[in-house]
C-alpha cells in the first residue's frame, strides 16, 4: 500500500510539511517493498486550487493514505470521496524517516 507524506525537502531527514497543497515534496512510501519516491510539487507557487491539483497527482500514483499537517476545506471532501485516508500530525519537528519508521509497525 502506498502512503504519501508531505515533506519540506527531498531527503529522509527533511521535516514534515504542515501544508498539504503547497508542500515542497511528496514522499511516496510503498509499505510492501519499502521503496521511497520523491515527487516535487508543481503546485507550490500556484495561487488557487493547489489542494485539488495535488490530490490529483497523488490519486494518479495510487496512494491510499496521506500524512500531512493539515488539509484544507476543498481537499477534505475530495479525499473522502476518493476513499483516501487522511492522517494529521501536528508535530512540526517530525522527520519523514520517523514517520516511515512508525508506518512500518
Amino acid at each position: 500500500m502506498k502512503v504519501a507524506i508531505t515533506s519540506t525537502g527531498n531527503t529522509l531527514e527533511s521535516t514534515l510539511d504542515q501544508r498539504f497543497g503547497r508542500c515542497s515534496f511528496f514522499v511516496i512510501y510503498d509499505t510492501d517493498n519499502q521503496s521511497v519516491a520523491y515527487i516535487p510539487n508543481p503546485n507550490k507557487e500556484i495561487s488557487e486550487g493547489a489542494g485539488p491539483a495535488s490530490v490529483q497527482i497523488l490519486a494518479e500514483n495510487g496512494v491510499h493514505k496521506i500524512v500531512s499537517g493539515d488539509f484544507g476545506l476543498k481537499v477534505k471532501p475530495l479525499l473522502d470521496s476518493l476513499k483516501i485516508q487522511m492522517i494529521v500530525v501536528k508535530d512540526v519537528q517530525k522527520k519523514v524517516s520517523e514517520i516511515i519508521q512508525s508506518l512500518s509497525h
Binding site: K65, V67, D70, F71, G72, L73, K76, P77, L79, D80, S81, K83, I84, Q85, M86, I87, V88, V89, K90, D91, I99, S102, L103, H105
Partner: protein
C-alpha cells in the same frame, strides 16, 4: 436621533455576518424525490429546493433521534441556528407534500466530514474513509489505543471561519476554546466551578 443615525451608519457600513459552514457527514443517497399520480394539474410544478444542510438536520433529528443540541454540535452551528435550519426543512417538505411538487436536494453552505479519531500514543488525528468498516488500529503507529475525537473544534480545517476566541476561568485561569452560541458567562469552569469570561 443619534440612535437612528447610528443604525443607518451601521446598515451602510456593515455587511451581514458570514454564515458558518455546516458539517454534513454523508451526501444524501438520492438527488431528490418526484410525486406520482398528480390529480390537480393546475398547481405549480416548480421543484422545491431542499438544501443539503436541511436534509442533514432532518436526518440527525428525526432519523438518528439526536436532540437538537447534540445535532447542532455535530453540524458545527449554534442551537438556535440549527432550529432555524430544521424548521426551514420541515416547511419546504410540507410545501412539496401539500402542493405535490418535486423535491431537489442540493446546495447549501456545507462541507462533508467523516469521523475523526485521535491516537493516544502518537497523538495524530486520522479519519475513517471506509465508513462501513470499523477501525482496529492507528494507521500511523499501529496502536490499538485511539478514541473518537468528540471535542468540537479540536481539529478544524485551517481556513474555515473558526472562532479563535478562548474562554478563561476567572478563578484558576483554566482555558478552553469558545463554542459558538454558548455565552462564556453562563459556562462553569470544569476544574474549579468558577464562572468563565472571554479572554481579551
Amino acid at each position: 436621533m443619534i440612535i437612528i443615525f447610528a443604525v443607518n451608519k451601521c446598515s451602510i457600513d456593515m455587511s451581514p455576518r458570514i454564515k458558518r459552514i455546516r458539517k454534513v457527514v454523508n451526501p444524501p443517497s438520492v438527488k431528490g424525490f418526484k410525486p406520482f399520480g398528480i390529480q390537480d394539474k393546475k398547481g405549480s410544478t416548480e421543484a422545491v429546493n431542499v438544501l443539503t444542510e436541511e436534509y442533514e438536520a432532518l436526518r440527525l433529528c428525526d432519523y438518528k433521534m439526536y436532540s437538537q443540541y447534540d445535532a447542532s454540535v455535530m453540524m458545527g452551528v449554534s442551537r438556535p441556528t440549527f432550529t432555524r435550519i430544521y424548521a426551514s426543512a420541515l416547511r419546504k417538505i410540507a410545501i412539496a407534500f401539500v402542493e405535490g411538487r418535486q423535491i431537489d436536494i442540493e446546495g447549501g453552505k456545507i462541507y462533508f466530514d467523516s469521523d475523526w479519531y485521535k491516537c493516544s500514543e502518537c497523538h495524530c488525528f486520522f479519519n475513517n474513509p471506509e465508513k462501513d468498516l470499523a477501525l482496529t488500529h492507528c494507521p500511523l503507529c499501529g496502536s490499538a489505543h485511539f478514541h473518537r475525537n468528540e471535542e468540537v473544534g479540536l481539529y478544524e480545517p485551517a481556513d474555515s471561519e473558526v472562532s479563535e476566541d478562548i474562554c478563561v476561568c476567572v478563578g484558576c485561569h483554566y482555558e478552553q476554546r469558545h463554542r459558538h452560541g454558548n455565552p462564556c458567562k453562563q459556562q462553569r469552569c470544569p476544574q474549579c466551578g468558577n464562572i468563565m469570561q472571554r479572554k481579551k
